[in-house]
């Protein structure tokens, strides 16, 4: 049959949010939706948002797990401010997410979960499906629980296991709605549940049933299937990647490019743990992963490995960095290469482990005793984590220094299509172990980079001692000489400053290199800021976007570039950190724009702030 309503309406972009209990499998469904959407040729960005509790009490608002995906026929910079489609698997999921919807949005609700008990747990006094609170929206009410039970009945699962298939039923419906191919997800189920054929087949049946439901059931008016044409991406081979995957692979690539094996010391912590997990699967790449007793041991083991001639790496989040602090100072003092990956989360203290923030910048820059400079770089997007991990290693090995790579929970967990780079085109990282005994001492320096030599144990004639005590510039021996300490402190600072010789000049992401207003961001806020600046420019605003990935040292031209703007606005997911550094470094009248909510910027928030700023000017 051919209903006219079944003709697919073309949309240029859609934002879908899946929400349910943390045990409802929303993240899994979201990942599958992401995969098929990417394969369908859309550009996309995702935002998984889940509670810290592994299994928060079912039905409660704080146990709600969400997964948002924004896909389009053009390039996508953020996961989207507001969902066009919300799938709410229970009352709590509806309650938590309804406020983000614009009137007219489509809400798909699983009425089967709207029991009295669930309504009460969600804190609803009246059933929102009945009291008119959904009137502003287009609502599709389906008893997904019942539909799922019927679809998987032949497999004779217990009702618990049977109900667990309802995420795939909902996914099937979305696949129908957005014209997605079922095959990749069916293949994924084959692989995932190879050893549990009944579960595999039940989920497959649920997926197909959800899809068939869309095809066959007459839907209320105004609810129809859509089509989002392919995006025009630069030609090349693509894959989806999350920031943490890209970080792990970037580290492996750095080891390969430098010809070094890598030793990773790491202690599990959200949201950094899966970098350890990814690397643990890559032992055949010459990656030795070491889950230590704590973060101090993790960084110390990495430093020990660097001393012995490997690429020492440690991965963690803010609280872990706090513990590593003293050892990072040691690596600065003994001048050994070290990559510290800080996947930032909301703080202080334990803060909000699963929520994103950019509040470790000052910790990375300054959080040590003594004058203890390190290089700091930050990744802008999930895929950029790959490149910046390589950059972190390159700088560490060039200057014999610890380098921080800052990412954050948002880009760590978020996925985006990524053009797979050609490794052969990435310049190798030069590493030389010192060999010559003549005139040797352990703090001999390259006159150009000021990096000290790297003599590794096992080399005849180079036996030497290093340590955290100050050493003499000319002999490397312990020294308490006042002038020498002054000199060594300056040398350690200058060594980091000279890395500016090999980092790219600062470019302008969007807009002119001068003008009324520069919006200066860093790290994972790239997408939101760029989208906002583009949209303001489309409305005629004179605004440019400058995005920093090298934070210490800054690119050489940054000061001059900033001086060509009348005003500087610095949006950050913290209480104003980069803005402090820019003001003190360049004496520019930079203003901060902070959001400290554990959530990424919405594009609209930034647009408003930019326009307001320009109005003040007028």
């Amino acid at each position: 049959m051919d209903y006219p309503s079944r003709e697919r309406k073309t949309l240029d972009q859609v934002v879908v949010r899946l929400a349910g209990d943390s045990g409802d499998g929303m993240q899994k469904a979201g990942e599958q939706f992401t995969l098929t959407t990417a394969l369908a040729g859309n550009d996309l960005a995702t935002f998984p948002d889940f509670p810290a509790e592994i299994r928060a009490p079912a039905g409660t608002t704080f146990g709600v797990s969400g997964f948002q995906i924004h896909f389009a026929d053009h390039d996508v910079l953020t996961p989207g401010d507001r969902p066009d489609v919300l799938v709410a698997m229970n009352p709590a999921a509806l309650k938590v997410n309804l406020g983000d919807l614009e009137p007219g949005a489509l809400v798909i609700v699983n009425t089967g979960a709207f029991t009295k008990a669930n309504l009460r747990k969600a804190g609803y006094e009246a059933n929102p499906l009945e009291d008119g609170s959904l009137d502003p929206f287009r609502v599709l009410e389906i008893d997904i629980s019942k539909q799922t039970l019927a679809a998987v009945e032949p497999f004779e699962l217990g009702s618990r296991d049977a109900l667990r298939c309802k995420n795939f039923w909902a996914l099937g419906l979305l696949y129908w709605m957005f014209d997605r191919d079922l095959a990749p997800t069916l293949a994924w189920l084959d692989e995932k549940f190879a050893k549990r054929p009944v579960i595999r087949d039940a989920n497959k049946a649920a997926l197909k049933a959800g899809h068939a439901y869309g095809e066959t059931v007459e839907l209320p008016s105004g609810i129809e299937p859509y089509r989002v044409p392919r995006a025009k991406l630069p030609p090349g081979e693509y894959r989806n990647i999350t920031g943490n995957e890209a970080t792990a692979w970037g580290l492996v690539a750095a080891a390969r490019l430098s010809g070094l094996e890598m030793v990773l010391g790491s202690y599990p912590i959200t949201p950094a743990s899966n970098v350890l997990h990814y690397l643990a699967k890559l032992r055949h790449f010459g990656v030795t992963t070491f889950q230590t007793e704590d973060e101090i041991a993790a960084v110390c083991a990495a430093i020990g490995a660097s001393f012995a001639g490997k690429l020492g790496v440690t991965t963690t989040s803010g609280p872990g960095v706090a513990l590593k602090t003293e050892a990072i100072g040691l690596a600065i003092a003994v001048e050994l290469p070290l990559v510290i990956v800080d996947i930032q989360r909301a703080g202080p203290s334990t803060g909000m482990p699963t929520k994103t923030e950019q509040s470790d910048l000052l910790q990375a820059m300054y959080g040590r005793n003594g004058d203890a400079p390190v290089a700091v770089v930050a990744a802008a997007t999930p895929g950029d984590c790959f490149h910046m991990a390589i950059e972190a290693a390159r700088l560490a090995l060039r200057a014999m220094t610890p380098v921080f790579l800052l990412t954050d929970g948002y880009i760590a967990n978020g996925a985006a299509p990524w053009k797979i780079p050609d490794i052969a085109e990435i310049p190798p990282i030069e590493v030389k172990f010192h060999q010559a005994p003549e005139g040797f001492h352990p703090f001999l320096r390259d006159p150009k980079t000021l990096a000290r030599v790297w003599p590794i144990p096992g080399t005849p004639g180079l036996a030497h001692r290093i340590g955290g005590l100050e050493k003499d510039y000319d002999s490397g021996n312990i020294s308490y000489d006042p002038a020498n300490h002054h000199r060594m402190t300056k040398v350690r600072a200058e060594k980091i400053a000279r890395l500016a010789d090999v980092i790219p000049e600062q470019d302008v992401a969007t807009g002119e290199d001068h003008g009324k207003l520069a919006v200066v961001g860093w790290g994972g806020t790239f997408g939101a800021i760029d989208a906002a600046v583009r949209s303001c420019r489309a409305r005629g605003a004179a605004v440019s976007h400058i995005h920093l990935r090298y934070l210490n040292p800054f690119p050489k031209n940054l000061g001059a570039l900033l001086s060509r703007f009348d005003r500087i606005l610095v949006p950050e997911l913290n209480n104003g950190q980069l803005v402090k550094i820019l003001r003190s470094e360049f004496l520019v009248p930079a203003r901060g724009l902070d959001k400290i909510a554990g959530q990424p910027f919405k594009v609209s928030e930034l647009e408003d702030a930019i326009l307001q700023h320009l109005e003040q000017d007028a």
């Binding site: 630069p234 990495a302 020990g304």
Partner: protein, 345 residues
């Protein structure tokens, strides 16, 4: 002849050009000298030898050795040393730590290095005091120790290094005294030969802040009655006339001191040392004055595969299982798709 044929090494080969800066009379001198004498006999090469230390008077040790050395931060030497071993298991790695460094701030790392059985020789200089920071009591200080932070005497109970090590799962545990050179050298050698974490507690006198802390066992006039040097396969006897021994108690679980020939006690009843017996080692580790002698020598040696050996074997296993590492293939694992230039939306 190959140019790098090792020349015969002497004690001097292991002495660095740095002036030794411990206080006159410090037990650390003897500990250092014994090691510099032992290493040439072991046939080790300075360039393959690494000393990793924490912070403390004792942790200055690496500066005086003409080998590779890393004076790290307070308490963390076992973790740094584990990283060195994971990076290059062929290196001989020694950890130098103190009672404060290894058992207060670094107790956690020591515990884990021991239980993992990382192939390290860990020398714990026990002077029952914080030397470097000028005399505060340490976690091995006996109850009632007076110092600048405990003018009325300490009120916390001490930790005993060897029972701690055995509890942590150490597979080689020994005790020595700074001034008794020959056995100290023998223990160094045993520790070196053991593949795995070897913990050696060395009773060390700090004449400045805790002088005489061990006179009750170390003083010449009491030594033979207060020291029992355990030798694998030999009866556990001590005393000037070697007529005192240890036997299992008849009235419960534990060890008692007996005099052979007195009250009908015969040599047959005296326990024979078995270094592979954890239960026996635990009983011996706890003994000490005034009721019993303190036991020295190798109390426990029961080797097992080392951490780094097994960890690096997994790298090899991964190579066998997944094949040679292919970065391009890794980046393309899972689903990929191609966007061609002329594709129309």
């Amino acid at each position: 002849m190959a140019p790098d044929t090792p020349t015969a090494l002497t004690r001097k080969s292991f002495m660095s050009d740095q002036e030794v800066r411990w206080c006159p009379g410090c037990g650390d001198y003897a500990i250092l000298a014994a090691l510099q004498r032992t290493l040439p006999k072991l046939g080790v090469r300075p360039e393959n030898t690494v000393f990793v230390s924490g912070i403390g008077c004792s942790s200055r040790f690496p500066y005086y050795m003409n080998t590779y050395g890393f004076h790290t931060i307070h308490g963390r030497a076992p973790a740094v040393a584990t990283g060195v071993k994971l990076a290059n298991p062929d290196l001989d790695v020694w950890v130098i730590t103190g009672d404060g460094d290894g058992l207060s701030i670094g107790g956690n790392h020591l515990l884990h290095a021991l239980r993992r059985n990382v192939d390290l020789q860990i020398l714990l200089f026990n002077n029952r005091v914080y030397g470097l920071t000028k005399g505060q009591y340490s976690p091995t200080s006996l109850l009632g120790q007076h110092g600048p932070s405990t003018p009325l005497g300490s009120v916390d109970y001490p930790v005993h290094p060897l029972p701690f090590a055995l509890g942590a799962g150490a597979r080689f545990v020994a005790r020595a005294i700074d001034t008794v050179q020959k056995p100290l050298m023998e223990i160094y050698e045993r520790a070196y030969r053991n593949k795995g974490a070897s913990l050696v507690e060395i009773l060390q006198n700090c004449p400045v802040f805790n002088d005489g802390a061990f006179t009750d066992v170390a003083a010449k006039d009491v030594a033979s009655d207060r020291q029992l040097w355990a030798v694998h396969g030999q009866p556990l006897v001590f005393g000037k006339n070697r007529d005192k021994g240890l036997r299992m108690r008849r009235d419960g679980c534990g060890i008692e001191v007996v005099t052979i020939g007195e009250g009908g006690v015969s040599m047959d009843e005296v326990l024979v040392h078995d270094e592979t017996n954890l239960g026996l080692a635990s009983l011996l580790a706890h003994l000490g004055p005034p009721d019993a002698p303190m036991v020295f020598g190798v109390l426990y040696c029961n080797p097992a595969p080392t951490y780094e050996h097994q960890a690096l074997a997994q790298n090899e296993l991964a190579r066998q299982r997944y094949g040679e590492a292919d970065l391009d293939a890794l980046l393309r694992s899972g689903h990929t798709w191609t966007v061609s230039g002329n594709e129309d939306g």
